[in-house]
């Protein structure tokens, strides 16, 4: 209605006109209708107030100092007079520079822009522009250009890249995973080359067994995977194997995995419910998926069960390669196991190294019993960057013989197959012999004070193994890669003194791994100074030479 609009018009006031007269501008006049202390330009101050001031906080008020000639209001206190009084002078300030602004035909040049006052008409537009957490100073036409360039070219993404969701016919290859709570969410896409393993809980009931989609094998192999994003080439997901898990947890591998087993109700149990899916995707080195297989674990759900835990895993393998787990690419990643191996017979002609899971660099794993002889075989892999120390206690009785004890302790410390070589980079291939670093083995014997007695009981038993891994930063300054340079395994032995019968002794046995960074500080390198190459022509000094 018209009266409301009139009311809003009346309420909307234009912003106050900017004050440009230097005689009336006062920045220190903060208190309204009161005199501000030491503010010589304050109109609220009387001459008695001025006589109490000590100095002027604002001595000069000028306009833009880049103008050639401008008015300036100068305030000062005359302390000689009794009582002190304020002096106000209006002078012309001259800018002596030859580049001073003589005149300007652009009125807004020297003043700040007055902001738009929001009215009911422009409120929405102002909210769009300034309502977010950030807004840009560029005019709106900039954003429009960027939007026009945004629709991606269909020809550009012709291959999968790391992290890109694996696309299927309808949407993405789903890997159900827990999102906020432990309940399964089906909206998690699997990323290319991202090996993931997730576990989540799904609520089930035996009555709705065949209607819950996530319990059926078909849900996971239904839609075929696109070989490259946005293409029409499909890769069907084949069933690699089916393992059936019974109610008591026993698993049996089915011989034929061709038949699709769908969940159905049998004797108040829901059988063929999917408990786990393991995807194996094979890809080429150009980012194209060529094969996809899924291994299922099917189980039975009883009437009382309200929820089951499903586990999902996806792994990517490049075609024609053996899936050796890399510990970094190329430098070692902290937390991944140090890769080690043996050189097969044929030394000194270097052949390829054997490197498999059994020849990892391992360290003794402390057990709860802490008895070295009881818990043989418990070993932990050496992870790059993690200094570890472990140990056990050895009970020596009088009846123990030295030599077998020394051999047993060596086995306990070094493990069954202590490797000879360690991979220099996280992705060192077995056939590149130069990328492997030999493990230097040292033997140190602890000297006792009574040196003369060592000749009699020359029984040395190893008591500690210290592996020192020296690594350096390799490559570029912004992305240094860790590279193992030297590995030294030091066995410290001590003499075992014969015990009187009936007595027993407890010796601590320790093994440790230390990673030392021996990278030299980066040296900056500068480009060579440009040289001026001047050659005068042959006959430059013609008349004289």
């Amino acid at each position: 209605p018209a009266d409301i609009r009139d009311a809003t018009q009346a309420r909307v006031r234009s912003p106050p006109a900017p004050v440009t007269d230097v005689a009336r501008l006062c920045v220190c006049d903060l208190l309204v209708a009161q005199c501000d202390v030491n503010c010589c330009c304050d109109p609220d101050c009387s001459p008695e107030d001025f006589s109490l001031f000590t100095s002027c906080s604002v001595p000069v008020v000028t306009g833009d100092s880049q103008l050639c000639s401008q008015k300036a209001a100068v305030y000062s206190l005359d302390v000689e007079a009794n009582p002190p009084e304020r002096i106000f002078k209006l002078i012309d300030q001259v800018n002596p520079s030859i580049f001073c602004i003589h005149a300007t035909n652009y009125k807004q040049a020297l003043y700040l822009k007055s902001p738009e006052i929001p009215t009911p008409e422009n409120f929405d537009q102002l909210l769009d522009k300034f309502g977010g957490a950030t807004f840009s100073a560029e005019p709106d036409s900039w954003n429009l250009d960027r939007d026009a360039q945004n629709p991606p070219d269909a020809n550009e993404t012709s291959r999968y890249e790391y992290g890109v969701p694996v696309q299927t016919e309808d949407a993405f290859l789903r890997l159900p995973s827990p999102v906020v709570s432990s309940w399964c969410s089906d909206a998690n896409p699997a990323g290319f080359l991202v090996n993931q393993a997730t576990k989540c809980i799904r609520s089930v009931s035996v009555e709705k067994c065949d209607s819950i989609q996530a319990l059926s094998m078909l849900f996971y192999i239904n839609s075929s995977i696109l070989a490259v994003p946005k293409s029409s080439q499909m890769v069907n997901i084949t069933v690699q194997s089916i393992v059936v898990q019974s109610l008591n947890g026993m698993r049996t591998l089915l011989s034929s995995s061709d038949v699709l087993r769908l969940p159905m109700v049998l004797d108040e149990l829901c059988i063929n419910a999917v408990l786990g899916v393991n995807y194996h995707i094979t890809h080429t080195d150009t980012g194209e998926i060529i094969e996809a297989a899924a291994a299922f674990v099917l189980g039975a759900i009883s009437k009382e069960t309200l929820s089951i835990e499903q586990s999902f895993e996806i792994s990517f393998t490049q075609e024609n390669t053996q899936p050796v787990p890399l510990s970094g690419n190329p430098g070692y990643v902290v937390g991944l196991p140090v890769r080690a191996g043996f050189q097969p017979q044929g030394y000194p002609f270097p052949a390829a190294f054997l490197s498999n899971k059994h020849s990892q660099l391992t360290i003794l794993h402390s057990t709860s019993t802490q008895d070295c002889l009881a818990a043989q075989g418990a070993r932990a892999p050496v992870l790059f960057g993690y200094n570890m120390i472990s140990g056990c206690k050895l009970r020596i009785t009088a009846a123990m013989k030295c030599q077998p004890l020394a051999q047993t302790l060596l086995d306990v410390l070094k493990g069954q197959s202590f490797p000879e070589y360690v991979a220099s980079f996280g992705n060192s291939q077995a056939q590149d012999v130069l990328d492997w670093v030999p493990i230097t083995q040292l033997h140190i014997s602890e000297q006792n004070e009574m040196v003369s007695h060592t000749l009699q009981s020359s029984c040395q038993i190893p008591v500690s193994l210290g592996i020192e891994v020296k690594w350096t930063k390799y490559g570029s300054l912004v992305n240094p890669q860790a590279r193992i340079v030297n590995v030294t395994a030091t066995i410290t032995t001590t003499t075992l003194k014969q015990l009187p019968s009936g007595r027993e002794r407890i010796i601590p046995i320790t093994s440790s791994v230390v990673f030392t960074d021996i990278s030299s500080p980066a040296e900056p390198s500068y480009k060579a100074w440009p040289t001026i190459d001047i050659k005068l022509p042959f006959d430059f000094f013609y008349p004289f030479v």
Binding site: C68, F99, I101, H102, T104, N105, A109
Partner: protein, 133 residues
């Protein structure tokens, strides 16, 4: 003497040519300086640059016709040059008064150029009068 060509006009035209090169480079440099230091929106920068380049384009035939007319003692090219001078004067007055930012250096350069144009125009008129009669 039978020589009707005006020597002062020739000297002035020659000096004008050299001065104009300096004037053009200095004004262009100052416009660039102004656009960096002050707030110079694009829709105000474009006319100023256009006027400067138009003046440069006018100057070349103007000086050439002036030289030719004076040396061949022909009044037609000299008259044409006078006409082009009027255009140059208008553009120079724009740069003196109606530019977005007129610096003190701008005032000096343009005033000098205007006085040169004025003197030239006077000398051209006398030369034409001498050639015609």
């Amino acid at each position: 003497s039978s020589q009707l060509s005006s020597l002062p006009l020739q000297i002035l035209l020659y000096v004008n040519g050299i001065y104009y090169i300096f004037y053009f480079l200095a004004t262009l440099a100052m416009i660039i300086y102004k656009s960096q230091v002050f707030s110079y929106p694009d829709d105000l920068l474009a006319p100023d640059l256009a006027v400067l380049f138009l003046m440069a384009i006018l100057e070349v035939p103007r000086l050439y016709l002036g030289f030719k007319g004076n040396l061949t003692e022909a009044e037609a090219p000299l008259g044409l040059s006078l006409g082009l001078t009027v255009g140059s004067v208008v553009l120079c007055v724009y740069l003196l008064l109606w530019q977005t930012y007129v610096l003190w250096a701008d005032v000096l350069l343009n005033a000098l150029l205007l006085s040169a144009y004025g003197l030239e125009s006077g000398l051209k008129v006398t030369a034409i009068a001498a050639f015609v009669s």
